[in-house]
Structure formats: structure tokens, C-alpha cells
């Protein structure tokens, strides 16, 4: 129980930190912390493999990619124009309202299930996941490979130096 609150607190606070820090590097680092907290939640939910994967892929690769771009482009030194106070107020209140709407939707959809306990024992080991992944979901898995290929090609194309003859 206490772990749940701990992890939730860290997650929420670091999420707030993401949006409130001026320096984008701090924001990225806060998001990393948030990811760690979420992985903690995954562990509490008996999805340990997913927790590790989350850290390795998300926190370890994607966030590092962000940091690389930040550092290489020297974006941390750039100042960002601020929004008007009126707008900030509007944004905050609309987000709050949005949250309440979401809660209201959940309330409408209540059908008893929501009080169920979230974690039970079931087989969520790596073996079970991979068994499901490579049998039932094999096709999407292959398609993601294609997706990555196109991503790589696209990223390279976009990031290429301009000026030379296009190949």
C-alpha cells in the first residue's frame, strides 16, 4: 500500500516538474524519474518484465535520445517566449475540467469492476509474454519491424545535410 502511494507521489510530482521547469534538460530528467515511478507501479501490478522493458527502452533509449538532441543542438540555452497569464489560467482550468470529465466518464461506466483488486497472481513471466507475442501477435510484431525500418529511413532523410545533390 505504502509503495503505491510512494510511487504515485513520485510520478505526479515529477510529471509536474516536467512541465514546470524552464530548462528543458531538467524536464527530460524529471520525465526519467517519472518513468521510474511508473515502472515501480508495473512491478506492483505483477508486470515485472514490462517494468524492466519500460526502463530499458523508454528511460534508457528514448530519453537519452532527447538528451542527445538537446545537447547537440544546444537548445538548453534558448529562451522560450512565455504565455500570457490569462492563457495560463485558462490552460490550467481547462486541464482540471478535463480531468473531472474523465472522472465523470469513469463514474458513468461504473459496473462494479472498478472496485476489483488490481493485482492477482497470474503468469506474467517473460516466457509467457514471449509465447503470446510470437504466436498470437506475430504479425503485428513483424509489422513493427517494418515500422522501424521506415522510421530509420525517414529520420536519416530528414536529418541529412542539405545542399549536396540528393541521392
Amino acid at each position: 500500500m505504502i509503495f503505491f502511494f510512494l510511487f504515485s507521489a513520485i510520478a505526479v510530482l515529477s510529471a509536474l516538474a516536467v512541465i514546470l521547469f524552464r530548462n528543458p534538460v531538467y524536464s527530460v530528467l524529471s520525465l526519467v524519474l517519472c518513468l521510474f515511478a511508473i515502472s515501480g507501479h508495473y512491478v506492483l501490478l505483477n508486470a515485472s518484465f514490462l517494468a524492466i522493458v519500460n526502463i530499458i527502452v523508454y528511460a534508457g533509449a528514448v530519453m537519452v535520445l532527447f538528451l542527445f538532441v538537446l545537447m547537440l543542438m544546444n537548445l538548453n540555452h534558448l529562451s522560450e517566449s512565455l504565455r500570457s497569464t490569462k492563457f495560463k489560467l485558462a490552460a490550467a482550468s481547462v486541464s482540471l475540467v478535463f480531468f473531472l470529465v474523465l472522472l465523470a466518464i469513469v463514474e458513468t461506466l461504473r459496473h462494479g469492476h472498478l472496485n476489483t483488486v488490481a493485482s492477482g497472481s497470474y503468469d506474467s513471466s517473460m516466457i509467457a509474454i514471449s509465447r503470446t507475442l510470437f504466436s498470437t501477435y506475430a504479425v503485428p510484431f513483424e509489422l513493427t519491424a517494418v515500422l522501424f525500418l521506415s522510421t530509420i529511413v525517414g529520420a536519416v532523410l530528414i536529418g541529412k545535410k542539405q545542399g549536396k545533390d540528393s541521392e
Binding site: 510520478a11 510529471a15 516536467v18 512541465i19 528543458p24 524536464s27 527530460v28 520525465l31 517519472c34 518513468l35 511508473i38 507501479h41 508495473y42 506492483l44 501490478l45 505483477n46 508486470a47 515485472s48 514490462l50 522493458v53 519500460n54 523508454y58 533509449a61 528514448v62 535520445l65 532527447f66 538532441v69 537548445l75 534558448l78 522560450e80 517566449s81 492563457f87 490550467a92 481547462v94 486541464s95 482540471l96 478535463f98 480531468f99 474523465l102 472522472l103 469513469v106 469492476h113 472498478l114 472496485n115 476489483t116 483488486v117 488490481a118 493485482s119 492477482g120 506474467s124 509474454i129 503470446t132 498470437t136 513493427t144 515500422l147 522510421t151 530509420i152 529520420a155 530528414i158 536529418g159
Partner: protein, 104 residues
């Protein structure tokens, strides 16, 4: 694992909070990098909900779905950063309000 007796609604609420924070960040910030970060945050909130319900239904499918979400998030971050880099090279600024040709 330690068996918990937390109703799933709590997890959903936490995810909603994270999601709303992500939306607020998307509205408030003008730095392109931070915008992408907020998008990642929102995706993570969705992942949390998925994993929570995977525990409820004792089914592995939501976890597989989380895998795929992870994949897509990574790809999208990569391409997004590439585009950002290009724009930055051309405009020397990462401030989104500068990229507003499509207006009155």
C-alpha cells in the same frame, strides 16, 4: 510479489492525473522538446491504465499492447526529433510560436 489490495480505480485516477498534467504541459509550454516530452508522458499514462487492467482480467493482451505502444512511441520520438532538428537548423529557434505561417 507482494500481494496488494488496491482497487484498480486508484491506478486509473493516477493515470488520469498524469494525463491531465501532460495536456496542461502541452498547452502551456512553447519549447518543442518539452512538447514532445509531454506527449510521451501522456502515452505513459495510457500504458499505466493498460497494465492495471491486465491485472484485473488476468490477461496478457494488454501487456502486449503496451509493448506496441512503446514501439510506436519510440519511433515517433525519433522522427519528431529529426524534424525538430531540421526546423531548428533553418529557423534557429525551437519556440513553437515562431512557426506560425499558417495564420491570418
Amino acid at each position: 510479489m507482494i500481494s496488494q489490495s488496491i482497487p484498480v480505480i486508484w491506478y486509473v485516477i493516477v493515470a488520469f492525473i498524469l494525463f491531465s498534467v501532460g495536456i496542461a504541459g502541452l498547452l502551456l509550454r512553447r519549447n518543442a522538446i518539452v512538447l514532445l516530452l509531454c506527449i510521451e508522458l501522456m502515452l505513459n499514462a495510457a500504458n499505466l491504465v493498460l497494465v492495471a487492467f491486465s491485472g484485473v482480467y488476468k490477461d496478457l493482451s494488454p501487456q502486449i499492447f503496451v509493448f506496441f505502444v512503446l514501439i510506436v512511441a519510440a519511433a515517433e520520438a525519433a522522427v519528431g526529433l529529426a524534424i525538430l532538428a531540421l526546423i531548428f537548423k533553418n529557423r534557429d529557434s525551437a519556440d513553437v510560436s515562431q512557426f506560425s505561417r499558417l495564420k491570418w
